[in-house]
């Protein structure tokens, strides 16, 4: 396996704490959407199966306005819990942890529960304005999105690239030059 850029002594090895860029954030968000959607689908399937097991009748939650409304409301609530809880707990979601980024306050501290809730509630705003809420990630010097600005947060790299480099160095043959 060829060494990752971080392992080849590139400037990436000291980027911990720097503002995270748009690509990493987008991939992390996609991973979160996938994870939360997958978990929700599994939960709905599990509940449906349990009801069917107990009552003996087959239920399709997507049929009927009422059940569809329940599913949508549940999904929105689940998404809120998914993001707000994880951000308030550690400043990162599953997707962000995978990509090695996390949310911090504008001065670099851990975010509060209030900030996590505000960030979660205002995240849809960035989508609703034709995605213009995200343009700040590309244009602003502190890579603020709209919901970041409203919650007074920023996203930084929390990935320890130095540890990755050490892992890579450790796997090298000592005789071969690095």
């Amino acid at each position: 396996m060829s060494p990752p850029a971080a392992a080849s002594g590139s400037p990436i090895v000291g980027r911990q704490g720097n503002y995270a860029g748009g690509v990493t954030r987008l991939v992390a968000f996609a991973a979160d959407v996938g994870a939360s959607w997958g978990a929700f689908t599994l939960a709905v399937a599990g509940i449906t199966f349990a009801i069917q097991l107990v009552t003996g009748t087959k239920i399709d939650l997507t049929q009927g306005r009422f059940s569809a409304l329940i599913v949508v409301v549940s999904f929105v609530a689940w998404e809120f819990v998914y993001f707000a809880y994880q951000w308030s707990l550690s400043g990162k979601t599953v997707g962000m942890a995978l990509l090695g980024i996390r949310v911090v306050t504008t001065d670099g501290g851990s975010i509060t529960g209030r900030q996590a809730v505000i960030r979660t509630l205002t995240l849809p705003l960035s989508f609703l304005l034709f995605g213009l809420g995200f343009i700040g990630i590309l244009l602003n010097k502190d890579r603020h999105a709209l919901h970041d600005r409203l919650a007074r947060t920023v996203v930084v790299y929390s990935w320890d690239a130095r540890a990755a480099r050490l892992r890579w160095l450790a796997n090298q043959d000592p005789a071969s030059p690095v």
């Binding site: 396996m1 990752p4 850029a5 971080a6 392992a7 990436i12 000291g14 980027r15 911990q16 704490g17 720097n18 503002y19 995270a20 860029g21 748009g22 690509v23 990493t24 991939v27 995978l98 990509l99 090695g100 911090v104 306050t105 504008t106 001065d107 670099g108 501290g109 590309l138 244009l139 010097k141 502190d142 920023v154 930084v156 790299y157 990935w159 690239a161 130095r162 540890a163 990755a164 480099r165 050490l166 892992r167 890579w168 160095l169 450790a170 796997n171 090298q172 000592p174 690095v178």
Partner: protein
């Protein structure tokens, strides 16, 4: 003409004169003198006498600097055969007499640790060389590496690379320079920078 004080002078001069019988006289005078001195010494209370001496006044008159300046310390040291002294010292015997546990009990380790600048020491350590040249590398590899973590490192590194690529192009399109932009939240970047500056390299060269 005789004066009141002349008589003893004359007697004394007669006692030491080289005339016959003067030796007996001399011996007599000596024995009297010894007796008198003995009586005087017995009569004197030396402690009381010393007590009356103002030592401070006496010492204040002594110019210690002048005395010390007259001492040729180099010459004094040159005359000392240190090797001979050291050869006479039985170090094992001294060490055996030392109660190490007692000494250690008296050492305030916490205070010593507080005075040690651990961060400065860590900065001096060439971790890359350490990992490459020691078993530490193998231990790290065994404990932390795996296909999954390597793949994750790769994905993250690619992500950072793409972030930089996009940011570079945005700046190029907007014709702006981002050299003086903050890399991250000031407190976070400063704290991490201190821990990451390699020895012999200033922060500006990063």
């Amino acid at each position: 003409m005789r004066h009141w004080g002349d008589a003893p002078v004359d007697q004394a001069s007669a006692a030491v004169s080289p005339l016959p019988g003067s030796n007996r006289m001399e011996q007599l005078v000596e024995s009297i003198a010894e007796r008198v001195v003995g009586l005087v010494i017995e009569a004197i209370d030396v402690n009381a006498l010393v007590g009356k001496v103002d030592m401070d006044a006496l010492l204040s008159k002594v110019d210690i600097d002048a005395i010390v300046s007259k001492v040729d310390v180099d010459a004094l040291i040159n005359r000392v055969d240190v090797d001979k002294i050291v050869s006479r010292v039985d170090v094992d015997q001294i060490v055996e007499r030392v109660d190490v546990d007692r000494i250690i009990d008296r050492v305030d380790v916490e205070k010593i640790i507080d005075r040690v600048d651990v961060e400065k020491i860590i900065q001096r350590v060439d971790i890359d060389a350490l990992v490459e040249q020691t078993e530490l590398g193998t231990i790290i590899a065994r404990s932390t590496s795996g296909v999954a973590s390597e793949a994750l490192d790769l994905v993250r590194a690619q992500g950072v690379g793409l972030d930089d690529f996009v940011a570079r192009w945005v700046n190029r399109i907007l014709r702006r320079k981002s050299d003086d932009w903050p890399a991250g939240p000031p407190a976070l970047v400063a704290a991490l920078a201190v821990a990451e500056i390699p020895p012999g390299r200033s922060e500006a060269s990063r």
